[in-house]
Symmetry: C2
């Protein structure tokens, strides 16, 4: 695929379009205008059109988008048809939650193995995924193609495990450790899940609402 | 606090500033310019200054920001000093992961209770938080002030539990169920954690990198 540099904000909106299109598809909608799509996502229609224009022509002026084909195009841009493989490192609560509840294959990613240090887990399978010992990690990486490492180890070992992974050629880490791994080296892509950023945004909106209610009742008392 | 309407993008950046300022503080840095802060976060310095200007005067022209006081101001804007309380509904893998590894109090939120249907859990404490039966939820909400409900129940009951919560006056939900609860009603704030959006963004960047590498080697072969 020919690639043009696209802004981070556009890239971050693509998965949201995808989810919305999946929803529309499930509800039997097969065509949608940029205006309707924009409304459903709290965007403007010109923003929607501009986002898609980054990747070529997706719709027909005045005819709207075909939901199924737009979905396929976005899935392709997101790499969902590449057959990417992932391993999960650290089968604690969050690791188990992902293995149990997060359907990697829905997003085009094949979770092929998991790793942990607990002897009781090693050699078992969880949700169809084999759990190996951490001491088998390097050999596994030498023998298999792995596109993404899902990092769900305890904080204390996040940096050392990352070193092992990057030394063995892993160049994409999905980081759940809350340790900032941004740019462990220039070659590694790190996507951080920061629960706190999300909670604090919610906290902001709650505080804003409380302040507005307080201001309103102060005005009414006057 | 006087509130002006601030764009969603600015609000989403505030927690990132906060984390970075915490890091700087821990490394003994006590002053920083907007340019330095911008560089650390991959922003422009005018963007940083504009963001802070939304909330009043934070620094002194030419003197930079005091790290500790900027941190306190941002924490205040984010509502971290309001003593917000939260309950967690659903003590499965993801619920346990949050109770075990996510320090709510670090973000100014007091996790006061958890709820589940499993008899073995009810009446126990996990990490200092008491677990109640789901049938005790309504009474608990009637008797306690709860600002945020952390929703970590299985998908299948996400909507019905949300109804119970909102009927009982909960107006902020931190939603981990992957079910779209946006606007269950006009009064409820919902903050969704979408793991898939994050994974797909990473997938995009991996695909982009692979394409660039392929294009490069194609050019070299010519």
């Amino acid at each position: 695929m020919k690639r043009v540099k696209v802004s981070n904000n556009v890239i971050r909106r693509l998965p949201r379009y995808l989810r919305k299109l999946d929803e529309l598809s499930e509800s039997g909608v097969d065509k949608i205008s940029s205006r309707q799509l924009a409304e459903l996502l709290g965007l403007t229609s010109s923003q929607v059109r501009q986002d898609f224009n980054c990747f070529g022509e997706f719709g027909q002026q005045g005819y709207g988008y075909n939901v199924a084909s737009l979905r396929e195009q976005i899935a392709g841009i997101l790499g969902m048809d590449r057959g990417f493989t992932a391993i999960l490192v650290g089968v604690g609560n969050i690791g188990r939650a992902l293995m149990e509840n997060f359907c990697f294959s829905d997003w085009g990613v094949n979770l092929t193995a998991a790793f942990d240090i607990k002897p009781a887990l090693i050699g078992t399978e969880y949700r169809g995924v084999r759990i190996y010992g951490m001491d088998e990690l390097e050999r596994y990486l030498a023998e298999h193609t792995v596109d993404v490492a899902v990092l769900t180890v305890p904080k204390t070992v996040a940096v050392s495990v990352t070193e092992t992974l990057t030394n063995r050629g892993i160049d994409a880490i999905w980081n759940f450790t809350n340790v900032e791994l941004t740019e462990p080296n220039s070659k590694t892509l790190v996507e951080n899940i920061h629960f706190s950023d999300s909670l604090l945004s919610l906290s902001y909106f709650v505080a804003e609402r409380r302040d507005e209610a307080a201001a309103k009742s102060a005005r009414e008392e006057k």
